[in-house]
């Protein structure tokens, strides 16, 4: 092996290559070349702007009872009123925040917990590894929705329990990915080189191992966020997450169910928005994972 080649292998792959900042910025959207990927990106941006900016444009308070229940669209209420006489448009503009926020926080908490377990197990050569991974197997034995329902039975309709439950659902998968990646990375020459330079374990994790498993995590995060949204929405729909009178798209579908035949808009509008949100995020996540050479068919599990 030549001198140059052996020197390169001591540098971690993440630090290799001479991509400048401009090239990297242009490359950041390289995965969004296909039609489904672009539709997904556009839909996600649209839905996120409704979620973030919606409350600014809401004509009324989302929780104030302002008129006769279940009236059709009018000048004062552009989409009509809901089963209690609240402005449907305002509730729709406010109602996306809870789903996106809860799903985002739950996914992040899941990553923090899963990464801690995975890194600890991957770096341990003792019984700790086996104990941690068997604990993860037990979590995998729960059907996801069942785990959330059991928590709701104990803690009531409680967003904190919902976040904790979804984080627990993601934890085993994330721990497995990070454990495998850590074990894989720790045998590489660049990690040995870092250890030989006298770097401490947290430094090696942060500077050598994490940057190299980052692509795997990035490809895995999109499908997980989709699953989080689906679970949050399902639990809110069952009335076991966000409590009334807060405006929430999933909760709106269940609370207006009695009005299905009288004022279908009260259900059709939040249902359509949830559909566009979940489908867009999924299209985008799928395209991104594919561009990294990972089939997301194996990742999505609910």
């Amino acid at each position: 092996m030549s001198q140059a080649a052996s020197r390169v292998s001591r540098t971690s792959p993440a630090k290799r290559g001479s991509h400048g900042r401009v090239a990297r910025t242009l490359n950041a959207f390289g995965w969004a070349r296909t039609v489904p990927a672009r539709l997904g990106l556009a839909g996600t941006v649209l839905m996120l702007s409704i979620v973030v900016l919606g409350p600014v444009f809401a004509p009324h308070s989302p929780t104030a009872i302002l008129g006769v229940p279940l009236t059709g669209p009018s000048a004062r209420f552009p989409l009509g009123t809901d089963f209690l006489g609240r402005d449907l448009l305002s509730r729709v503009l406010y109602g996306g925040r809870t789903v996106v926020l809860l799903a985002g926080v739950a996914t992040i908490v899941g990553y923090l917990a899963g990464a801690t377990v995975g890194l600890a197990a991957g770096n341990s050569r003792t019984v700790v590894d086996a104990v941690l991974m068997r604990a993860m197997d037990v979590l995998l034995a729960f059907p996801p929705v069942l785990l959330l329902l059991v928590l709701a039975a104990g803690y009531g309709a409680n967003p904190v329990a919902l976040i904790a439950g979804i984080a627990l659902i993601h934890m085993p998968g994330i721990a497995r990915i990070l454990r495998a990646a850590t074990q894989d990375a720790s045998v590489h020459a660049y990690v040995e080189a870092a250890a030989a330079r006298g770097e401490r374990i947290p430094g090696i994790l942060a500077r050598e191992i994490l940057p190299n498993i980052w692509p795997t995590i990035a490809a895995d995060a999109g499908p997980r966020f989709t699953v989080s949204i689906l679970l949050v929405a399902a639990i809110n729909f069952l009335g076991l997450g966000i409590r009334p009178p807060t405006a929430d798209w999933a909760l709106m579908i269940s609370e207006n169910r009695i009005a299905l035949s009288i004022q279908p808009l009260t259900i059709a509008v939040p249902a359509a928005l949830i559909a566009v949100l979940t489908i867009s995020v999924n299209l985008m996540a799928d395209a991104f994972a594919r561009s990294r050479g990972i089939s997301s068919a194996k990742l999505v599990r609910r």
């Binding site: 069942l146 059991v150 803690y155 929405a233 729909f237 169910r257 299905l260």
Partner: protein, 325 residues
């Protein structure tokens, strides 16, 4: 002794090992279920009745749940009852949990059974079609549809289906009424929309896994070898690629049934279909702990059993996999 029957029959040893591990996991699951519902959240009686409950009511409910005993003795009492088939008494309905569950188990099995029987063949056919015609129009159409369907929550597709067929077209009931004591098969129209809702998400899932399996098989060396030997494309697909996609097929079936364990919960609730999932959601809303605990263990046991069955079936079907047992 230990080196006797089991050592000479690695397959039997494998099955015994998997079943024992499954029982062990179910035991741990039962500890978690019991702790999460009755021990960790604090005084369960206060939790159920709310802060404004009278002290007498709290004492009464504590007695019913056996809360005056230690957590360990409560758990052991519950577990031994469970093993003897005594599932406890529902707090809301004041009837034995087994009676509450009875009809619902059958209703859920009928719903899930009909859905599986329909979605597995359809999903596999579409998945194979997409995999064989990879990157052509058929594939793009099928893949695009599944990407959308898989991301659609069951309660959204269910609500939209109820809106279309129940309210606008008025051809199917948007609430599935099943007279107590009768089989849901006697009310076929009540089954259509719940089954369609489950199929929309479930089929998409099967299609994606089958497509991935077929593409992998078609890219393998033995298919390449068959192609180089001049074997026609039809024969390659049927005799070589699909034959070897048997293991993924069994896994697809198992994952579908496992997914249904969670899927029926939401779907039954949308259509008020009187199944186990809808009963569980009601019990959670009413914080009827004995019912929640019994149904949770039942569903978790089914989930674990399906997993073991699938793994054993795969090993039985593919002798190659028996080597590393």
């Amino acid at each position: 002794m230990g080196t006797g029957i089991l050592a000479r029959h690695p397959l039997a040893f494998y099955v015994v090992r998997r079943v024992l591990a499954g029982v062990l996991i179910l035991l741990v699951v039962s500890v978690i279920v019991f702790a999460a519902t009755q021990v960790l959240p604090g005084n369960a009686a206060v939790q159920i009745l709310g802060r404004n409950a009278t002290p007498q009511a709290v004492v009464q409910l504590s007695k019913e749940l056996g809360l005056q005993r230690s957590a360990v003795s409560q758990y052991l009492g519950w577990l031994t009852g469970l093993m003897r088939g005594q599932l406890g008494t529902s707090l809301a309905a004041k009837q034995p949990v087994s009676q509450f569950i009875g009809d619902r188990v059958r209703n859920s099995l009928v719903l899930a059974g009909v859905a599986v029987l329909l979605m597995v063949p359809i999903g596999m056919a579409l998945g194979v079609a997409a995999g064989v015609r990879r990157d052509r129009l058929t594939d793009h159409a099928i893949t695009g549809f599944t990407l959308g369907a898989i991301a659609l929550p069951e309660f959204v597709s269910g609500a939209l289906l109820a809106l279309c067929f129940g309210v606008w077209l008025k051809v199917l009931p948007s609430v599935s009424l099943v007279t107590p004591g009768t089989s849901p098969l006697a009310h076929p129209s009540a089954l259509v929309l719940p089954v369609a809702t489950l199929m929309l998400s479930g089929t998409a899932y099967i299609v994606r896994m089958m497509r991935a399996g077929v593409i992998e098989a078609l890219g393998s060396e033995y298919v390449e070898a068959a192609r180089l030997n001049g074997i026609g494309p039809q024969r390659i697909i049927w005799k070589h690629a699909l034959r070897n996609a048997l293991a993924p097929t069994v896994q697809v079936l198992a994952l579908t049934v496992q997914w249904l364990v969670g899927g029926v919960v939401v779907t039954e609730t949308i259509f008020s279909y009187p199944g186990l999932g809808q009963g569980l959601v009601q019990a959670v809303q009413l914080r009827d702990l004995p019912v929640v605990q019994a149904v949770a263990i039942l569903l978790a046991a089914a989930y674990i059993a399906i997993n073991i069955l699938a793994d054993v079936a795969v090993v039985l079907l593919i002798p190659k996999l028996r080597a590393p047992l």
